[in-house]
């Protein structure tokens, strides 16, 4: 009798302990992919980001700490107010535990505030502004794939080294463009170059000819495109029309995605130097993953979509290890575990939210060099993590303790 009662108590005790350990709120881990589904960044993140998140969940087994994982998605229309509202609704009513992607920096900065206030994890893959780990950093914000600092130090310094010492910027007139222009200008000036001027073009401008003419008149050797997606495509395409490259000036596509190169075609895009954290044809692991992605979407994955897969996987690993989905605790675990996936080798999440990874400098191949579908890039250099990203000593992030 006595023995049985003790056993019973012990069993109950075990159950209570287990329940206390596995603190998964609402018995489900919900991941919200917030992205541009309908406008100029839809091919960079968009549906592909949702597919990547779903692939990550499937590969993880669909469950974490014994609870099911769900993926939801929404279109933030590139508007910060819309994005912040969706984030609030997701967290307050739909019990979303982590928000992923957000390819528009202005929206990401708004969502960063919401997730910080509500202690939810924010896995940023698409947004680029280095302010997300600078003055707008958050204890639950994880800037996964790349940032404007890395782009500036990749493409920017490579072109200055090749003799491009005078620059004129065509800048997307919002948080991302401003950050990219600022970070690249700093690189150019530090290397002894000069910035001759800049023009701020509204986001999603169809016609860049006026800005191109201003860039042409500046006589700068390099025309820095501090924009992305459809804006970059239109700038380069119309630049060809106005004979920018034949005129001896050179484009610096500071943020060029493989979807942009595909859209432009190699004839127009050849020779562009670009910085990326991922290219599908780098090694067997990237090829294997990209092949699966292409089977689902019929499109070649961008670094943003690949980053979404990696970020979600690492997030789930941290939940499994921490046995909770509470924001700060999960991110603390994410910092402890080294990051390893098909595109990341011994990556590390820093205290300001920056994921330290190697990035790569590529050049777009000419049509003659391209041998098979999507054979677009040749690798010029590997930029090690500590050179690619802003050192903590220069950080404006309040979370970074300065010694």
């Amino acid at each position: 009798m006595m023995f049985h009662r003790v056993l019973g108590l012990a069993a109950v005790g075990c159950l209570v302990a287990a329940a206390a350990q596995a603190q998964i709120s609402d018995d489900v881990v919900k991941i919200g992919v917030l992205t541009d589904m309908s406008s100029l960044y839809a091919d960079i993140g968009g549906k592909g980001s949702v597919v990547a998140a779903e692939m990550a969940v499937k590969d993880f087994g669909g469950k974490v700490a014994g609870k099911p994982i769900e993926v939801v998605s929404a279109d933030h229309l590139n508007k910060p107010d819309v994005g912040a509202n969706i984030a609030r609704q997701w967290i307050d009513q739909d019990h979303v535990d982590a928000i992923v992607d957000v390819p528009t920096s202005s929206v990401a900065l708004a969502v960063q505030d919401v997730t910080k206030e509500k202690d939810r994890v924010f896995l940023i893959s698409g947004a680029a502004s280095s302010d997300l780990t600078g003055k707008s950093c958050s204890p639950t914000g994880v800037h996964w794939t790349y940032d404007t600092y890395a782009l500036a130090h990749g493409t920017g310094s490579a072109l200055v080294k090749q003799g491009g010492d005078t620059w004129f910027f065509i800048t997307a007139d919002y948080a991302f463009g401003h950050a990219l222009e600022r970070d690249t200008s700093a690189v150019v000036k530090a290397a002894g170059g000069k910035v001759l001027g800049a023009v701020r073009a509204p986001l999603n401008t169809p016609d860049f000819s006026s800005f191109l003419l201003q860039a042409q008149a500046s006589k700068a050797k390099i025309i820095g495109l501090a924009n992305a997606g459809g804006d970059t495509i239109n700038s380069i395409k119309q630049g060809a029309e106005f004979g920018i490259v034949q005129g001896g000036q050179r484009f610096a596509g500071l943020l060029v995605f493989i979807s942009d190169v595909h859209s432009l075609g190699l004839q127009t895009a050849q020779g562009l130097v670009l910085t990326s954290a991922f290219y599908w044809d780098q090694n067997d692991a990237t090829r294997a993953w990209a092949k699966r992605f292409m089977a689902e979407t019929n499109k070649v994955p961008t670094m943003v979509q690949a980053g979404v897969y990696g970020a979600v996987t690492h997030y789930l690993k941290a939940i499994a290890a921490a046995k909770t989905d509470e924001g700060k605790a999960v991110v603390a675990k994410m910092r402890e575990i080294p990051i390893n996936d098909f595109m990341t080798h011994n990556g590390k999440l820093r205290e300001d939210g920056r994921v330290m990874r190697d990035i790569y400098l590529f050049q777009v191949k000419s049509p003659a060099e391209s041998k098979y579908p999507y054979d677009y890039y040749k690798q010029l250099a590997v930029i090690p993590a500590d050179q690619a990203f802003r050192p903590l000593s220069e950080s404006e992030c309040p979370l970074v303790k300065k010694g």
Partner: protein, 323 residues
């Protein structure tokens, strides 16, 4: 590279003025505020080219609104269909730019005629709002389908070899293709205006909008005329789409990017006024072009500011007759 690499294809006459100005003070604003008149001509011309697209698109809208009383929100989607039609013709059938310039507008116009027969003709007698909602819904469906299939980045379409290269105009180097766009658009706009305002067919059309019953009593098939008019308006949108294909990417988003601006142009010109849409199309292209030089940040908003001012001062638009 040498210190100041010679730039072929840019105007050397501008350089001394620009660089001298730039040496003083902030590098960003000075060259723009002190832009030499020659560079300004270039910018005005570019504005005029964008105006050519606005004019052609708002013209189609004005024709459809003036004669059918339908606010055709599917106009942007039809413009996009024109560009895609040219792209399909090139990539699937190997048909080049010049035949596409004729085939694509006709094909899209036929599609428009089917829409008119199937949907629009039922709602002529209802409030404008119904037509607006119906065409808006159709536009969303069409654009959604294309986005699903082709993504947002767009497909490349090259400038036809006859029109590649640049003209040296002295004050700027103008891509020949852009020159062609402005000429083609001017011809199309004038032709449409002439057809509607100065020919017998145009007179029938205008009479049919005033009093369809009476015109029908004279033995004219008014419903068929209305159908063909819608087809014509849609065809104009598609033609603008083909002309735009080599400049912009052939993208599912190209219509929704431009349609709101075009509606503002129509409202400024006066809903349904043919001349108003043409003049305000070109004029607003110029205004936008100037804004891109002096205050580029506002270039996507300036047209709406103009619209607000015009509506305050002349609610029927610049060329509209008060109802």
């Amino acid at each position: 590279m040498v210190e100041s690499a010679p730039v072929i294809g840019a105007d050397h006459a501008l350089t001394p003025t620009l660089s001298r100005k730039r040496k003083r003070g902030d590098e960003r604003m000075i060259p723009l505020l002190h832009i030499p008149p020659q560079a300004l001509f270039g910018q005005l011309l570019l504005g005029l080219i964008n105006g050519a697209f606005y004019a052609m698109l708002s013209l189609g809208l004005a024709v459809i609104f003036g004669l059918l009383n339908i606010i055709n929100f599917a106009h942007g989607a039809q413009y996009m269909l024109g560009a895609f039609c040219a792209w399909f013709l090139l990539n699937l059938a190997g048909v080049g730019y010049w035949p596409s310039l004729v085939i694509a507008p006709i094909a899209v116009a036929l599609f428009g005629i089917v829409l008119e027969r199937a949907f629009l003709r039922w709602i002529y007698r209802l409030d404008h709002l119904y037509g607006l909602l119906l065409t808006f819904g159709l536009a969303i469906i069409i654009e959604g389908l294309f986005r699903q299939q082709y993504g947002s980045s767009g497909q490349p379409y090259s400038i036809p070899p006859e029109l590649t290269g640049v003209w040296n105009l002295g004050f700027m180097f103008l891509p020949i293709y852009r020159g062609w766009v402005i000429a083609a658009s001017a011809v199309v706009c004038f032709g449409t205006w002439f057809l509607i305002e100065r020919t017998r067919l145009g007179a029938y059309l205008r009479a049919a909008t005033e009093n369809p019953v009476l015109v029908q009593a004279f033995g004219i098939n008014v419903p068929r005329m209305v159908t063909l008019t819608y087809g014509f308006g849609v065809g104009l949108a598609a033609l603008a789409g083909v002309l735009a294909a080599p400049i912009y990417q052939v993208s599912p988003l190209m219509g929704s990017n431009i349609i709101i601006v075009v509606f503002a142009v129509v409202v400024i010109g006066g809903m349904g006024s043919i001349l108003g849409s043409i003049v305000s199309g070109f004029a607003l292209g110029l205004v936008e072009g100037l804004t891109k030089v002096f205050y580029p940040e506002a270039s996507s908003t300036v047209i709406f500011v103009v619209m607000a001012i015009v509506l305050l001062l002349k609610p029927a638009g610049l060329f509209g007759r008060a109802a």
